[in-house]
């Protein structure tokens, strides 16, 4: 193995592998360094992988990649203690090619993706921790690994080392994340026969559904819970802002257990046997937390760059795009033979011009809005449940009277003015 490559990628997640794959296809010599036993061994995701961004790299990947289920239905629940207002969307179209998104197990998918990279000429080194970047004359020239004589050199280093991103922090690209800039998510895989899953979720054989849950599932903390169907497992998890988990002294696994015991959830997961338990941080800082992305001989991609759209639970797709755009900039730099920050800056420009940054910018205040206005989760969700409960419970009261009672109750808790203000604030944060 040479000790100098065109590019070193730190981290075999989807961002790093996307970058590596693209660069290798253009003939660059690339090494990916992964600290787990195999790619995916350390990677945790709720489980939704998006077709469009994966296909840009590997056309018709769904014919060969290890996927769980194509998602044909996305449900949303506004949950209260004993009830939920539910909505969602299901379409036949997502059940056929080219599909919209899939549930996946990252350990399986990432190993497959890594094999595709190897076929394209990438060298993958597992079980190896990158401890620092090697600097020379104010530029990154390589990485120091935990192995004896483990220094590796390259023209450019791609930092795809995940949400904790110790390396870009070492380089001073960002300060330590604040507890309110990350969510702490815990998740379990519950094993169930595939027919049982299909019956309970009303699915055709092989098809999948996702449920995003807001409200009682986080007991008032800013965050969401989720239930995703895999072939023979259900992923169930809950994520909340680390700042709030800490302040309110919540044990995250107790929150998960509360969710599992909720009357809306319990029948869906009944007799599901827990087979694995996870915890992971999710970048939630959004647009304002995006660190410096480009330096001399170095770029930052994926979770390490805080590229997660919490409002739409999108992350793996943003990771893949950032990896691909970084690779394209590196390929251009390779052609002119210079890898300074200005040569790599097209990565940042193209990312800013893509939907990635546009979406993150759109929602840049959303997480903060929920954080400082707990009423959205704690008052409006129960109120919506109660309003529907009242309208739909047939008890002899006229609908007119019911409406009046609902409005009266709403206004007894809040003035019309403050209600209006909340609506306006929400609209402003989402528009």
């Amino acid at each position: 193995m040479p000790d100098k490559f065109d590019a070193i990628v730190v981290g075999a997640g989807v961002a790093g592998l996307a970058a590596a794959y693209k660069m290798a296809q253009e003939g660059l010599s690339v090494v990916v360094i992964e600290r787990g036993d195999y790619p995916g061994a350390k990677n945790v995701m709720g489980g939704v992988l998006y077709r469009a961004m994966t296909e840009e790299l590997i056309p018709e990947f769904w014919r060969e990649a290890p996927l769980q289920r194509p998602v044909v239905e996305q449900r949303f629940w506004l949950m209260d203690s004993q009830s939920a207002v539910t909505t969602g969307y299901k379409t036949k179209e997502w059940a056929m090619e080219p599909y919209n998104c899939f549930t996946v197990f990252r350990s399986q998918f990432d190993q497959w993706f890594a094999r595709k990279c190897t076929e394209a000429g990438v060298v993958i080194i597992n079980e190896t921790l990158v401890e620092s970047c090697i600097m020379e004359n104010d530029r990154v020239v390589g990485v120091r690994t935990g192995r004896p004589e483990g220094d590796l050199y390259a023209n450019v280093v791609v930092l795809a080392d995940g949400v904790n991103s110790m390396l870009s922090r070492q380089l001073g690209f960002h300060k330590e994340w604040e507890p309110r800039q990350v969510a702490l998510a815990v998740m379990e895989e519950l094993k169930l026969p595939s027919e049982v899953i299909e019956e309970r979720f009303n699915l055709d054989p092989g098809m999948g559904a996702t449920i995003e849950i807001y409200g009682d599932s986080t007991l008032g903390l800013v965050g969401t819970a989720f239930i995703y169907t895999n072939k023979e497992h259900i992923s169930i998890g809950v994520g909340t802002l680390l700042s709030q988990v800490r302040q309110l002294k919540v044990r995250p696994y107790e929150l998960l257990e509360y969710l599992k015991s909720h009357p809306m959830v319990r029948p869906l997961i009944k007799k599901g046997e827990p087979v694995e338990y996870y915890a992971h941080l999710v970048p939630e800082g959004g647009y304002k937390a995006i660190p410096k992305l480009v330096g001399n001989g170095v770029v930052v991609v994926g979770d390490a760059a805080q590229l997660v759209n919490g409002m739409h639970r999108e992350g793996s797709n943003l990771a893949m795009i950032s990896g691909r755009l970084a690779a394209e900039a590196i390929i251009m730099a390779y052609k002119i033979g210079s890898f300074e920050a200005r040569d790599l800056s097209p990565y940042e420009e193209n990312l800013r011009n893509s939907f990635v940054m546009k979406d993150l910018k759109k929602y840049k205040n959303a997480s903060h809005l929920l954080e400082v206005n707990p009423q959205y989760l704690n008052e409006y969700i129960p109120a919506t449940n109660m309003a529907l409960h009242e309208m739909l419970t047939v008890d002899g009261m006229s609908k007119q009277e019911k409406q009046k009672a609902i409005i009266k109750r709403a206004l007894s808790r809040k003035s019309l003015f403050s209600l209006g203000k909340d609506v306006y604030k929400a609209w402003k944060a989402m528009k």
Binding site: N126, R251, E257
Partner: protein, 106 residues
């Protein structure tokens, strides 16, 4: 900030033995801890909340006999303790390459 839990966790009476969850995972524990409490006197004297004993999703940190015990072998490597230790008193790094939790699914 003025937010609170909508329910009293204690009243919900959820008893979890975290070991039953951690037991499900595949582990390759290192000999040495990758999590180090920098100054134990800070935990004892300056940290009344002992927040890490609550928010850590693997219950790595426990207050025992007047000091924080660190069960690094069950660490899920999320990084929460590094960011959320109110005293900045945890030196956090990843386990050495090939060590620590190795997820099979997710």
């Amino acid at each position: 900030m003025n937010y609170k839990l909508t329910k009293n966790m204690k009243a919900l009476d959820i008893e979890i033995n975290i070991d039953n969850k951690l037991f499900l995972n595949r582990w390759k524990p290192d000999r040495e801890s990758h999590l180090v409490v920098v100054d134990h006197s800070v935990c004892a004297g300056k940290c009344p909340g002992k927040d890490c004993t609550f928010f850590c999703p693997a219950r790595v940190y426990e207050w025992r006999d007047g000091r924080i015990a660190v069960g690094f072998e069950g660490c899920l490597e999320c990084g929460a303790c590094r960011i959320a230790c109110p005293q900045g008193n945890i030196r956090w790094r990843y386990p050495r390459g090939g060590y620590g939790v190795q997820f099979r699914l997710a």
